[in-house]
């Protein structure tokens, strides 16, 4: 197992009085793809948003327990600085109503980069890494919204890469895409895992099996409180799970 990049210990999250996540302890290895799977409402997306503190934006959210990134308490880092290190790709592609260039350059610009030459380099390398460069290199002035859904999602990945994060969180990044666009995103995730720690939430079992090195299975009972049932190498989870609930979920008996 690689070095630990992200780590939680006895982590709990509450929405007001509602206990959404209970006692989650996990070690997410560096430069690997970790999939978070589980039935709807088990808190896996909420857990994902812990790592870039997007939950902070929701009124009434409270947490207890420890969350570390590179061994440092994540809640002691300024969220704005943290989010430059932990990028995120959302379920629905959300490019800004700006040109492709301005979309990718957005992150570097908000951190104060003005040098156009440097921005151009970053935009090109980010679009290349997101496997979009060849499709858009002649049209960087075109609106990001004019791209197809799959291209928009790769634009959002490029936009996240432009900030040079070390972690990329993906919240069902292919949920709104057709199978071919999904496959491209999956290939991309695989390539990106050489340089980035990737945590991906997915509803799609096959997708978790195809793209991830490690899989965490979340589950919830009638209390609606999400728990981590099992975390292991993906192939172990899929072929030889320890917990009966994991096995039932993987084999499609519920969820």
């Amino acid at each position: 197992m690689n070095a630990t990049k992200l780590e939680t210990n006895e982590y709990n999250l509450y929405y007001g009085n509602f206990h959404a996540l209970r006692d989650i302890s996990i070690y997410i290895p560096e430069k690997k793809v970790t999939a978070l799977i589980g039935p709807s409402g088990c808190g896996k997306s909420t857990f994902l948003r812990t790592f870039n503190r997007m939950n902070d934006l929701i009124p009434g959210v409270r947490t207890t327990g420890l969350v570390n990134i590179d061994g440092i308490d994540l809640f002691k880092i300024d969220p704005v600085a943290l989010r430059q290190n932990v990028g995120m790709v959302f379920q629905k592609p959300n490019p800004f109503p700006k040109s492709i260039f301005d979309n990718v350059a957005y992150g570097p610009r908000v951190t104060g980069l003005r040098d156009h030459k440097k921005l151009e380099e970053i935009v090109e390398s980010s679009l290349r890494s997101a496997a979009l460069w060849d499709e858009v290199k002649d049209n960087l002035g075109k609106s990001g919204l004019a791209l197809s859904g799959g291209q928009q999602q790769r634009l959002c990945i490029a936009r996240a890469l432009a900030v040079q994060p070390s972690v990329i969180l993906m919240d069902e990044p292919a949920a709104s895409l057709d199978p071919i666009a999904t496959l491209k995103i999956e290939d991309l995730i695989h390539d990106l895992s050489e340089d980035y720690t990737i945590v991906i939430v997915t509803h799609n079992m096959q997708q978790a099996g195809r793209v991830s090195d490690y899989t965490a299975f979340f589950y919830t009972d009638e209390t609606r409180t999400g728990r981590l049932v099992e975390f292991d190498e993906t192939k172990t989870i899929f072929t030889n799970p320890h917990d009966k609930r994991t096995e039932d979920y993987i084999t499609g008996r519920f969820g």
């Binding site: 934006l57 943290l82 989010r83 430059q84 959302f90 800004f96 900030v163």
Partner: protein, 335 residues
């Protein structure tokens, strides 16, 4: 043809026979009931159609009437003399409304200058920053401004603003004039601009905000670089609606602007003393003189109305165009 839902025989369904539902015949026949409902349905449709048409007819009738009454003035005085001559002396048959056009435009400009930053600031605060509890106090308070009668604003201007402005030591400054009128008008257009601009800001998809924040942008950067540009058309529309409102305002203007038929100009060497100058608006011109005007004079006042009407139609049409553009941008996005 698609079957109308009203034609479906609900009562024949076994689900509707439970409980205290009685066999349908006792109600006097399903056929009869259904046809009654269909007639009601169609009648309502026609009534609504007529009410919608009626408002168009009224607008056209007013436009036609004003234009017809102004024909004499256009014919006897001439278009260019009315629009481009600054001297309005009905006693000497001089009917140039340029001074009033400048007065209306200047006071509107002043109101926009003072009111827009305040209104857009309030809209951003309400839409993006204020917690729910603050919103629930602030929003009704801003909307309350829209409910205050124009004459009350005028009174406030006369009693509070005019004496204050009179304190400024500029020769010829009476307190009445463009500055007092601009301030009053700025407050009057505040609720219009704030609520339309807030709607435009709220209509910006949340995905833009979370996308920006997730890239390490601060909240303020997110507002200025993503939210406001995305809501730009709607915010422009809000401002233009405010302009339309300002151009049409009459009573409060009559009360504080001084109404003298002079071409507004700086009272001293400092160009800013322009705003201490008295003026008259297009609306004020009509309201002040219509009660005693006859003949060409009366017709010239209607010509003033035509000019005002045209200005406001242009302003509102451009606002409508901008609003449509914004909604079409957002629909394209979802496609």
């Amino acid at each position: 043809m698609r079957p109308e839902i009203s034609e479906y025989n609900y009562q024949a369904s076994p689900f509707f026979m439970d409980g205290d539902a009685k066999p349908m015949k006792k109600h006097g026949g399903v056929e009869h009931q259904m046809s009654g409902r269909i007639i009601a349905d169609k009648t309502v449709k026609y009534i609504l159609f007529i009410s919608a048409i009626l408002s168009i007819v009224i607008v056209l009738a007013i436009a036609f009437f004003i234009f017809q009454e102004s024909l004499q003035a256009w014919a006897e005085i001439g278009l260019s003399d009315i629009l481009f001559k600054a001297v309005w002396r009905p006693g000497q048959d001089q009917y140039g409304i340029l001074a009033m056009i400048v007065g209306s435009v200047a006071v509107t400009f002043g109101a926009i200058l003072l009111g827009v930053p305040l209104a857009i600031g309030s809209a951003i605060f309400l839409g993006e920053i204020a917690p729910k509890s603050v919103q629930s106090v602030l929003r009704p308070a801003v909307q309350l401004l829209a409910g205050i009668p124009s004459v009350v604003y005028g009174l406030f201007g006369m009693v509070v603003l005019v004496p204050l402005i009179r304190q400024v030591n500029v020769p010829g400054n009476s307190g009445y004039g463009l500055l007092a009128a601009s301030i009053v008008l700025a407050v009057m257009i505040l609720p219009t601009i704030t609520s339309v601009a807030e709607d435009a800001i709220r209509a910006v998809p949340d995905g833009y905000r979370s996308g920006s924040l997730a890239l390490g942008a601060t909240k303020w950067q997110t507002i200025t670089r993503v939210v406001l540009p995305a809501g730009k058309s709607g915010i422009m529309a809000a401002i233009i609606l405010g302009v339309g409102r300002a151009l049409g305002e009459t009573m409060a203007m009559i009360m504080v602007i001084g109404n003298s038929v002079v071409f507004p100009k700086p009272l001293a060497a400092n160009p800013l003393t322009f705003f201490f100058s008295q003026a008259r608006t297009l609306t004020g011109n009509i309201a002040v003189e219509i009660s005693y005007a006859t003949g060409v004079h009366e017709s010239a006042l209607f010509a003033t109305g035509v000019v005002l009407f045209a200005l406001i139609i242009i302003v509102n049409a451009s606002a409508r165009w901008l609003i449509n553009r914004q909604s079409s941008i957002q629909t394209t996005r979802q496609g």
